[in-house]
């Protein structure tokens, strides 16, 4: 061993000691001797000095992280859990005392009642100033009113032809139940209930389970925090399976496919779903899907008779007359099948494709080492497969046989070559403040985080990039319009995450979008390029900073609107003909950060749920009518609005929504849509809408005619 290496080895403990002391010096005052030794060592050891400096810098960086705010309902839920502890203790005490006669029991329950009452008073005093006003401190919610087991989810998984599907929970057992609608009130106010019905699927999980129904209701995609699985739904008592113990692979699906002999219309075989003749609109919508792809300029083969199924699980009976399937679809799984483990679903809920042959969703590793990627699973496959690898992709919905993918990337968008960008059919607004002005992709490319959207065909692998700055677009099934969020992307200072800042929802026309072939996620080109959404400027600072604008939000919205509560004064309406994209005013607040968009099967109505600013689960449900011919939307106000949960959907020409249990009746309602508007008259009235209430018919909008048979109304939750 050389003298040099020996010296280095001998010096190692000294360096170790120096680092130890440098670290301790941050937390405490060193002993004088240690401090002097450290100073001397650092003087002669540049490496150790660097390390010591980095330790101090780390401390500063860590301390500069913003403080994450606890959720507003933390107290409410904790209080309720504390109540449960109290009740449990009381029950235990009561059970023990029962053998000692009525007096003791009476006395004990009296004591317990006193205790609860005192708790309410004391907690009210001690916490009133610390907890959100929306939740009463010391709330006794749940003390007196305990829902009977099994606890029912508040909103159905799906409503198909009036049959509601719920997940009910009893401890760690989750059951999918099907029950019929009950029209307890007027015929236009049927409500469905989970109280009755049959169990068609059952699983256990130590974390909450969610589900998405296949269009034929014969199987469901179910998921918890770690696993996505396919669960066959059966009408007879299903066996209960543990989702957490599902191995990646049963062996049945292959054989199921192999033994499949002849295609059969799937819906008719389902006992819980009945085909109805009312779904012709769905069928025509489906036809439109197959007809339009050619307009995108890509050679999407029309092999997708797949569109014979409805676009949403809520309208399943459309399989109908002539499936004319070019290839037999694989049969549903026959045993519960885990298709992805170790991942957590993020973004829009998993959805079956309209033909029921695929499930698409976005998911991220449960430990969040990466962002989300798009996954698809096809009936018959063993596993779901990631089709992106950039970890910035969200499932945004099905459109026929294609998938809308929304990418939220820290990277700048690809610059559009000047020669092609001018081809974009961006509306030419006469009003410079129109959001479309800045939505033009030919504008300056943003320099910060960007949003990119793709249409991806899982069958062919073809991808097309949609040239519009938008997030999570949701298209109507006829590929005429789409609704998306646009606004400012911000970097959350807490952990350097990109998220929506100020923005709103817009209606846009497919005709205005430029679509071009693209690589989805660099597949096939750079398989190793797996960015984890690099941040644009190092560590985040102490507060959320707008780092990019996706552009439609750049200018204040000019769109007049009578807000759903009717309290806001409409602003002047532009006199020029309406242009797209149009603001969908679905909330009283200026910025939408939490929303759900669902189209009906005909593409003539779109439902938008926007969360209350103070809530993540309760908000306002809006129903808008879209003028097909002119491309106008009744943005002056929704046809219908009500307070509700975000579980909005359509079922055979009815809007399905659920009112919140608190402050309303907690029921699920089916509200008929207004009849299809006649051929739209072309001339919009330039006069500002006088509407101050959403209950008024949007008479100035040419595409929406007053519907005397189904007047715009407010739901019971309003």
């Amino acid at each position: 061993m050389s003298r040099l290496s020996r010296a280095a080895r001998q010096a190692e403990p000294l360096h170790e000691r120096a680092r130890l002391l440098a670290s301790e010096a941050i937390d405490t005052e060193l002993e004088p001797g240690d401090a002097a030794w450290l100073a001397e060592h650092l003087d002669g050891c540049p490496d150790c000095r660097t390390v010591a400096d980095e330790y101090r810098a780390l401390r500063e960086e860590l301390r500069s992280l913003a403080v994450p705010e606890p959720p507003r309902d933390l107290w409410a839920r904790t209080s309720a859990a504390l109540d449960e502890v109290d009740r449990s203790a009381q029950r235990k005490a009561g059970a023990i005392r029962q053998g000692f006669g009525g007096w003791a029991a009476t006395r004990a329950s009296f004591g317990a009642a006193v205790a609860v009452a005192l708790v309410v008073v004391i907690s009210g005093v001690s916490l009133l100033s610390q907890v959100p006003a929306s939740h009463a401190p010391g709330s006794t919610r749940g003390v007196a009113v305990v829902p009977p087991a099994p606890l029912s989810a508040e909103a159905p998984v799906a409503v198909v032809d009036g049959t509601g599907y719920w997940i009910t929970r009893d401890g760690q057992t989750y059951q999918i139940r099907a029950g019929s609608a009950k029209c307890s009130g007027p015929s236009d106010r049927c409500s469905v209930s989970s109280e009755s019905g049959t169990t068609i699927g059952s699983i256990t999980s130590d974390s909450p389970v969610f589900a998405a129904l296949a269009p034929d209701a014969r199987q469901a995609a179910v998921w918890n925090g770690d696993t996505v699985a396919i669960l066959p739904l059966v009408s007879q008592t299903p066996a209960t399976v543990a989702i957490d113990q599902m191995t990646p692979r049963p062996t049945t699906t292959d054989s199921a496919v192999a033994t499949f002999a002849q295609p059969t219309p799937t819906v008719t075989a389902t006992p819980t779903v009945t085909a109805t003749p009312t779904v012709t609109a769905t069928s025509t919508a489906s036809a439109a899907i197959t007809a339009t792809p050619s307009s995108t300029g890509t050679a999407v083969p029309s092999e997708s008779p797949t569109a014979s199924a409805p676009a949403s699980p809520g309208a399943s009976a459309s399989v109908s007359p002539s499936p004319s399937l070019s290839s037999p679809p694989a049969q549903p799984v026959t045993v519960p099948t885990a298709i992805l483990n170790g991942y957590k679903v993020v973004g829009r809920a998993p959805e079956f494709s309209p033909d029921g042959q695929w499930v698409a969703f976005s998911a991220a590793p449960t430990n969040f080492t990466n962002g989300p990627d798009l996954f698809v699973w096809q009936v018959g496959q063993e596993r779901a497969h990631a089709v992106t690898s950039a970890h910035v992709d969200f499932f945004s919905g099905w459109l026929g046989s294609e998938i809308l993918v929304s990418e939220l990337s820290a990277r700048p968008a690809v610059s559009i070559p000047a020669a092609t960008s001018s081809d974009v059919l961006t509306p030419a607004p006469s009003d410079s403040s129109s959001p479309s002005a800045s939505a033009s992709p030919s504008a300056e490319p943003p320099s910060g985080p960007t949003t990119t959207s793709y249409l991806f065909d899982p069958a062919t692998g073809n991808a097309q990039r949609i040239d519009r700055a938008m997030l999570l677009p949701v298209s109507d099934p006829t590929r005429t319009f789409l609704v998306y969020w646009s606004g400012t992307i911000v970097l959350d200072a807490v952990s350097g995450q990109l998220k929506a800042g100020t923005g709103n929802l817009y209606l846009d026309s497919w005709a205005d979008l430029k679509i071009e072939p693209a690589l989805l996620d660099g597949v096939g080109a750079l398989p190793t390029a797996t960015p984890t959404a690099a941040t644009t400027g190092g560590e985040p600072s102490a507060s959320p900073i707008p780092v990019a604008t996706t552009s439609t939000e750049a200018a204040p919205s000019p769109t007049p609107s009578s807000v759903d509560n009717g309290n806001q004064t409409p602003s002047p309406e532009p006199s020029a003909a309406p242009v797209l994209p149009e603001l969908l005013r679905a909330s009283a607040v200026d910025s939408v950060e939490n929303w759900v968009v669902e189209w009906d099967a005909t593409g003539q109505h779109v439902a938008v749920w926007v969360a209350d600013p103070s809530s993540q689960s309760v908000g306002v449900v809006n129903l808008f009518a879209i003028g097909r011919g002119s491309g106008l939307v009744a943005t002056d106000g929704p046809l219908f609005h009500a307070r509700g949960l975000s579980s909005i959907q359509f079922d055979n020409g009815r809007l399905v929504y659920t009112t919140p249990a608190e402050g309303s009746d907690g029921k699920t309602y089916l509200v008929p849509l207004p009849p299809t508007p006649p051929t739209p008259s072309p001339s919009p009235s330039p006069s500002p809408s006088p509407t101050s209430s959403a209950a008024e018919a949007p008479s100035h909008t040419p595409t929406i005619t007053p519907q005397p048979t189904a007047p715009p109304s407010e739901g019971p939750g309003s």
Binding site: L74, I122, G225
Partner: protein
Amino acid sequence: MGIGVTATPDADDQRAIESVADRSFIEELFALHHGEIYAYVYRMVRDSELAADFAQDTFIKAYRHLDSLEDRAKARAWLYQIAHRVVLDELRRRRIVRFLPLVGDTHGGAAPSAEHLAMEMRLSGPLARALARIPNRQRAALLMAEVNDMTGLELAEALGVSHVAARALLTRARESLRQALADERREEKEREAALDARFAAQASIADPRRTTASHSDDSNGADR
């Protein structure tokens, strides 16, 4: 709690009084510390829903085991100790991520919408990612000491170790984080370079048939 067959009416009254006092105390603790406990837990798991669950669990466990708090002046460190155990237990069990109710409300149950959680999707900066890379106990020590301003004694109490051991753990944590951060920043540069190349490739693509589906490996999500 002393509840048993020997209970007398007087004992019942006494229990009721104690129960009220305990409830009041735990609510006071909540008022004083729920913010920092939530922040600590959040930074450990980087998931707002999980963090809320764990923060709630912390106070519930504290309420249930209030008897084990010998000195109420040390309640803060005791709360951290509980929170620390709650978090580490869960991380060990790999139930790291209780299902975010992101899609729950889309199809059943009161929860944030999918889109909301999409917005919240974690795309971490280098420091947050580096923090996630170091061992859980080291991360806990670092967060408690550096971010949550715990004293050395409180830290030792919360971690359930001696003062000397806590300091040593802290030093190891600093060194781990320093190296992890260096790695993160280097890898970030590499990713950016790769991404630049990808975007360049994408911008130049003309033939749609070159676009193919990827069935890339999805096994990269194993918990550490």
